[in-house]
C-alpha cells in the first residue's frame, strides 16, 4: 500500500515537472519524484541507498534550481509561455516506449528470487565495491575527477593563460 502511494506520488510529480509554468515549481516537483523513489527504497531494505538518494537529490535539485532560474527567461512562470518542440512526436514516441516496456514487464517470465537479502545490505554493498566490484568504484572516481576538470574548463570564461 505504502509503495503504491509513493509510486503514484512519484509519477504524478514527474508529470508535474513538464506541466507547471514556474521553474522553481518544476525543480521541486522533480525533487518530490526523486524523494518518493528514495522512500520506496526504504521499503525494500535498501536503507542506505534510500537515504543516499534523498540526500544527494535535495542538494542536486537546489543547485539545479539556481541554474534553472539563471538560464530561463521566465523562471517564475508569471507569464505562461510554451517552450516545446515536436510535441506530438515526443508524446507518440514516449507512449510507444511505455507500451513496449509494460508489455515486456508483463510478458517476461521473471526468474524466481535467489536467496534472501543479507542482514545488512549496506555492508554487502560496501564489501562489494571494496572487493570484487572495486573496478566500478575506481571508474566512478576517475569519472568524477574528469567531470570536475572538464566542467571547470568549460564554464570558466578565462583561458589558460589569461590573467
Amino acid at each position: 500500500m505504502a509503495f503504491w502511494i509513493l509510486a503514484v506520488l512519484a509519477v504524478a510529480s514527474g508529470i508535474a515537472v513538464f506541466v507547471v509554468d514556474s521553474m522553481a515549481r518544476a525543480t521541486f516537483a522533480l525533487l518530490a519524484s526523486l524523494i518518493a523513489v528514495g522512500a520506496t527504497f526504504l521499503l525494500i531494505d535498501l536503507h542506505y541507498l534510500g537515504a543516499l538518494i534523498i540526500l544527494m537529490m535535495i542538494m542536486e535539485m537546489l543547485v539545479m534550481a539556481v541554474f534553472m532560474i539563471m538560464f530561463m527567461m521566465n523562471p517564475a512562470g508569471l507569464m505562461p509561455m510554451s517552450m516545446l518542440h515536436n510535441k506530438t512526436g515526443a508524446a507518440v514516441i514516449s507512449a510507444a516506449v511505455f507500451a513496449l516496456l509494460v508489455a515486456g514487464i508483463f510478458l517476461t517470465d521473471w526468474p524466481d528470487r535467489k536467496g534472501a537479502p543479507p542482514p545488512d545490505p549496506t555492508e554487502a554493498l560496501g564489501m562489494s565495491i571494496m572487493g570484487p566490484k572495486m573496478l566500478v568504484m575506481m571508474v566512478i572516481g576517475v569519472a568524477i575527477l574528469a567531470t570536475m576538470i572538464s566542467t571547470v574548463v568549460l564554464a570558466t570564461r578565462r583561458g589558460r593563460y589569461d590573467a
Binding site: 536503507h47 542506505y48 537515504a51 535535495i58 535539485m61 549496506t122
Partner: protein, 283 residues
C-alpha cells in the same frame, strides 16, 4: 503516547525559545492570531512548503538520535539518515526565500544555498570520521564505541568542524546571514503570522537537534556517573546548546564568500587529515 507528549512539549519549548529570542511573548501571541501580510504575486504553495518543511526535517532528523539507551527509530544507517534530513533545510530555506517574490528573502535564500555548499562537505567528512571511528553508521554503536574514550578527545578537528557546520545549518550566530539583520531579516523578512512562528520554531528545532546530535556523535551519548542515561543526554545537549548560544552572542557575522574559501581551503583539508589519522588508528 509518550512520544507524542514529548513532541508537544518540545514544540512548546521551541515556541518559548522563539519568544525569548524575539524578547516578546506578545509577538508569539500575535503570530498565532494575526492575519498574514502578503507580498505581490507570492508563490504561496512554495512558501508554505518551505515553512512546514523546516520543523518537519528537524523532527525527522531527531528520530534516529538515541535519548539515553534507545532512539525512536533505530536505523542501521542513522548517520546517513540524519545527514539527509538535515540537508532538507536547504530546500526549506530556499523555498521560503523564493516564494515571497521579494528581494531580501530571495537574497537570503541564495545565501543559504551558498553557505550550504560551503559547510556540507566538511560536515560530511566529520560525520564519516565518526562512523569510521565507530565502525558503524548506527548511532547506538557510535555511542557504544565511546565507552573508553569520547570521540571529542581524539577527533577534535571533526568536532570543531561539526560545531561550525551545525551553526551554519541552523543559520545561527556568525552563520546567520541568510536571515541576518543586514538584509532586513533575509528569508524571514516577508514571513508573518503563523508562517513566521512555524519557520522560526523549525530553525530553533534544527539548532537543538544539531546540538543533540553532537552528544551521541562526540560526547559519549548518555554515559556519565550517578544520573541515568537520558538525564546525561539532556545535560550534554543543553551544554552544547549553551556553547552555540555563546558563540552566537560573541562572534561577528561571517560573509559566505569568505566562509566558502575558508571551508574549501582549510576545513576540507583539515577534516580529510583527521579522517586519515582516525583511519590509521582504527587499522
Amino acid at each position: 503516547m509518550g512520544e507524542v507528549a514529548g513532541l508537544m512539549g518540545g514544540l512548546g519549548v521551541l515556541v518559548a525559545a522563539v519568544a525569548l529570542s524575539e524578547r516578546n511573548w506578545a509577538g508569539v501571541a500575535r503570530g498565532l492570531v494575526v492575519q498574514r501580510r502578503r507580498t505581490l504575486l507570492p508563490d504561496l504553495l512554495l512558501i508554505r512548503l518551505g515553512v512546514v518543511t523546516l520543523p518537519v526535517v528537524a523532527v525527522l532528523a531527531a528520530l534516529v538520535l538515541p535519548v539515553g539507551e534507545r532512539a525512536v527509530l533505530d536505523l542501521g544507517v542513522g548517520i546517513v539518515w540524519f545527514n539527509a534530513m538535515e540537508v532538507g533545510a536547504w530546500a526549506a530555506v530556499w523555498l521560503a526565500g523564493w516564494g515571497a517574490n521579494s528581494v531580501f528573502p530571495l537574497v537570503g535564500g541564495y545565501r543559504f544555498v551558498a553557505q550550504g555548499l560551503a559547510y556540507e562537505l566538511p560536515h560530511m567528512f566529520a560525520l564519516i570520521t565518526v562512523a569510521l571511528g565507530a565502525g558503524s553508521l548506527r548511532f547506538g554503536e557510535v555511542v557504544a564505541a565511546q565507552r573508553g574514550l569520547w570521540f571529542v578527545v581524539w577527533m577534535p578537528v571533526a568536532f570543531l568542524v561539526y560545531v561550525i557546520s551545525a551553526l551554519a545549518m541552523a543559520f545561527w550566530g556568525p552563520m546567520g546571514e541568510p536571515g541576518g539583520a543586514g538584509i532586513a531579516g533575509g528569508v524571514t523578512a516577508e514571513l508573518s503570522g503563523p508562517d513566521r512562528l512555524v519557520f522560526l520554531a523549525g530553525r530553533y528545532a534544527l539548532l537543538v537537534v544539531a546540538a543533540a546530535a553532537a552528544v551521541p556523535l562526540f560526547l559519549g551519548g548518555g554515559a556519565g556517573p550517578w544520573l541515568p542515561a537520558w538525564a546525561w543526554t539532556a545535560v550534554k545537549t543543553v551544554a552544547v546548546l549553551a556553547l552555540f548560544a555563546g558563540i552566537g552572542r560573541r562572534v561577528p557575522a561571517v560573509r559566505m564568500d569568505r566562509f566558502m574559501t575558508f571551508a574549501w581551503m582549510v576545513l576540507i583539508p583539515l577534516s580529510l587529515l583527521q579522517l586519515l589519522v582516525v583511519g590509521i588508528v582504527v587499522m
